[in-house]
Point group: C2
Chain length 198, copies 2
DNA sequence: CGCGTTGTGTACTGATCGGTTCAAAACTTG
DNA sequence: CAAGTTTTGAACCGATCAGTACACAACGCG
């Protein structure tokens, strides 16, 4: 045993996550990460072995917390399934517009990373693919419940509708990054809900 | 007059566009651009004044050709509006899966750039915003025609439905980059069409 | 207090970044 | 062919990149 760290590893991870989220992986330099976390280079490289490793851990943390908060909404068995999906859309919009009141939305780190590096980085892709599966499973289960209960259309299979909802969420996020305001996103959400309703 | 260029400027622009498309702006080095275009650094900097300028011109070229090909489909007055939007989805999917048969989709340069740099680069944002307006206008006009003809739902305003279709396209592109196959995208498209159908 | 261990700051590494300089090559025009 | 203009390749620029070396500071434990 010897000298203890003078920083909280999870706080540092959060700060790094934020930096990657705002600028993307490539555009975030190790210097940026030092400033964002408040750590020196040594501490960063001592704790996380490389920029890539730090990114992977930050991304994993992001998808875990983000997906957990979404599952919480989707698995709330007390409400009708369609209402849960509506609440999910609402949550997405809150994220897009509260986290960064001044200026434009920074979107979703998961979507951003899918676009920036999923195709060229197998390790990152694995993190994203696993998370995508979890989210699709939860969406599918919700859709199935809605179909049984009769508030979601039953003429299309649950996996398809899950993928549809997921794609709409992605589209809303890209739209927000492209400058769409909240009412624009609200319109997209209610239209998508219209495709599920019955 | 003096020594003429030994390369075709548009071909070079296409090659650069391709490079940016595959790797993104930040991850594409000037060296990459030399290899992709087959030009030396001097020729590139003599023709295009900077990496940023080259990117802007490549992106402009991309959105112009891409949007033109989409307008062609949307403005084909001989077909019902809903069918035109279905054909547009079909075109998107063709792009996603033919341009890169082996390996994963590289998505859409417009979406990729919106995600990577629209928020931090005003000049790039202007190019994207102008193109977005053009595409939304064409979608809105198509939706209005469909509403008049009675094949598209009339209980939501055209701008909203245009934004919805645009978001779905973005979502399909992100899904493709995340590994979705053609049948998955087809399911998303038909579900979206279901939301428009009267 | 002092030994052993670990974290931290500073300085440094070679490589690569975007971009420039410049002389020679290549072409048009007279 | 010669004068004048432009393109081209190669060498070069300072800055920054991700990552490392190392001395020293700070702590736990005996």
């Amino acid at each position: 045993m010897a000298r203890p760290r003078l920083f909280d590893e999870e706080r540092a991870l959060d700060a790094a996550m934020r930096a990657f989220w705002e600028k993307g992986y490539e555009a975030t330099s190790t210097q940026d990460l030092c400033v964002a976390t408040g750590l020196g280079r040594s501490s960063i490289y001592n704790t996380f072995s490389s920029k890539h490793d730090l990114f992977q851990r930050a991304l994993s943390r992001y998808v875990d917390t983000m997906t957990a908060s979404q599952l919480e909404i989707l698995e709330d068995a007390g409400r009708p399934a369609l209402e849960r999906i509506a609440a999910l859309f609402e949550r997405i919009m809150d994220q897009e517009f509260t986290q960064r009141p001044e200026g434009r939305s920074i979107g979703c780190l998961s979507v951003n990373t899918t676009v920036e590096s999923a195709a060229r980085d197998p390790e990152i892709d694995r993190v994203l693919a696993r998370d995508l599966r979890v989210r699709l499973d939860a969406l599918r289960a919700t859709v199935e419940a809605g179909q049984r209960a009769g508030d979601i259309v039953a003429d299309r299979d649950p996996e398809t509708l899950a993928r549809f909802v997921n794609a709409v969420i992605g589209g809303m996020r890209v739209s927000a990054q492209g400058g769409a305001d909240r009412t624009a996103l609200e319109g997209i959400a209610v239209t998508a809900l219209g495709a599920l309703k019955r």
